[in-house]
Symmetry: C2
Subunit: 286 residues, 2 copies
Amino acid sequence: MLPRLTQASAPLTREVTVVNEHGQTETVSIPAERPLTIYVDRREVVTLMTLGAMPELLVLGYLRNQRLIRQPSDVLSIMVDWEVNAAAVETRDGITDIDARTAQRVVTTGCGQGSVFGGLMQELDQIQLPADARISQSSLYGLLNAIRLQETTYKSAGSVHGCALFRGADMLRFVEDVGRHNAIDTLAGWMWMQPESEQRGDDKIFYTTGRLTSEMIMKSAQMGVPIVVSRSGMTQMGYELARDLDLCAIGRAVNRRFVCYTGAHRLILQPELAAARNVDAANAAG
Amino acid sequence: MLPRLTQASAPLTREVTVVNEHGQTETVSIPAERPLTIYVDRREVVTLMTLGAMPELLVLGYLRNQRLIRQPSDVLSIMVDWEVNAAAVETRDGITDIDARTAQRVVTTGCGQGSVFGGLMQELDQIQLPADARISQSSLYGLLNAIRLQETTYKSAGSVHGCALFRGADMLRFVEDVGRHNAIDTLAGWMWMQPESEQRGDDKIFYTTGRLTSEMIMKSAQMGVPIVVSRSGMTQMGYELARDLDLCAIGRAVNRRFVCYTGAHRLILQPELAAARNVDAANAAG
């Protein structure tokens, strides 16, 4: 039984009037950003600031990634109401020991001080990513091209992070949010709403526009996704965690360029594809 | 009496071996990232993930921006020891009601889910930014040029956010961290370590490489700094907050371009300076 979800939507951008360097007034778009307070069985858990694209999936994924629920069927329904900026979650059996489990706080990197409820790091050593997961350089390039072509709030309004789940070069789901934690949590929620046979992560690739910090690596590993790709770079704790998990972390990935930081044995190199582009570029220039 | 601080330092980058798109092995730098657990009078408060450039100022600014301490003299000493990744804070009189004040959590945007202890938003309506603070377009361009010339961990290793405090076009302090909250908190700590006559924010300008989210605006306002400049854009809650505070928020500021989102009356426009650059560019191109 999958949870019942509302489909609350709200405008993703807003136009504001600004003054530019020529002293002229112009109109630009900025991303929407709204508080969403999560109530689990009428108990307030947390307030997230979100773009609001897929709030129900965000809530489901948040509860999943915080390890507050163990499986989708633990949740009966998620009702989002933007009139009151609230998400009401109804669970099947409640969340055992919710006070204790939301009390311990680790403030993490993100773009600052993201919080992860306690106990999460301890579970990492139980994670075993599939030994045989691979990505070919050709699939990687297909993935990067799909990202390049994606219509985004970022292109129209800036100031949001994008995340996506891929199977090979096929984009399964793309999501943006003002916070990249929210974006990946939304993907985690989306995965849980798929048929059970497709919920696993081992055949998937996680893409993020944001940096590969320890929390991004941690969340990807929790979701069972063994390969992570980012346009940005990597922090030290992200690096160490990815290495220890044998997760393939590819960063600085734009067009045909990338570096594979960890888990390089999962990357099927096809360097001739990188070279081919240089020929294209030379032809174009010539 | 200013707090006594250690000067714990640690390497800011680390070299790792990666595989690039040509299948070649190369060495790249990544920013360091280490946990720092803050103990106030031997009581554990929080663990921050930080680059570690100026950990004592980070701790001081964190306690300040979380409103856990009211003035620098409340703190006797901050001792950071990287052997145990701990910052021991000794206060003059303890922190009243510390349990209650660190219990309420609002998860904010940042690049995700930064946490702000409760009660902070309520204090915003007590903030009155100085009515006469101004920035000229010429100073803004000087500021942006200083940022451009700054030697940074970002240039060598990527994946960090930079922040700076300016007086006009004079850079007073520049700091980077893996999280932009940490970076601004470090500036807040730095301000408190200055002679009392120079601690005020009304003559200062805050620069950040990160987006202008509500927390960035909030923290700047708390520090009494009425003008904020960013290379990036602005989110809706940042916009609304800056507008309500009459704070001058300038974004998308690179080279000679920018947009002033709010508080435009604080910006002394000199559009001829923007035009001048076009002439330069045309000359260079010609």
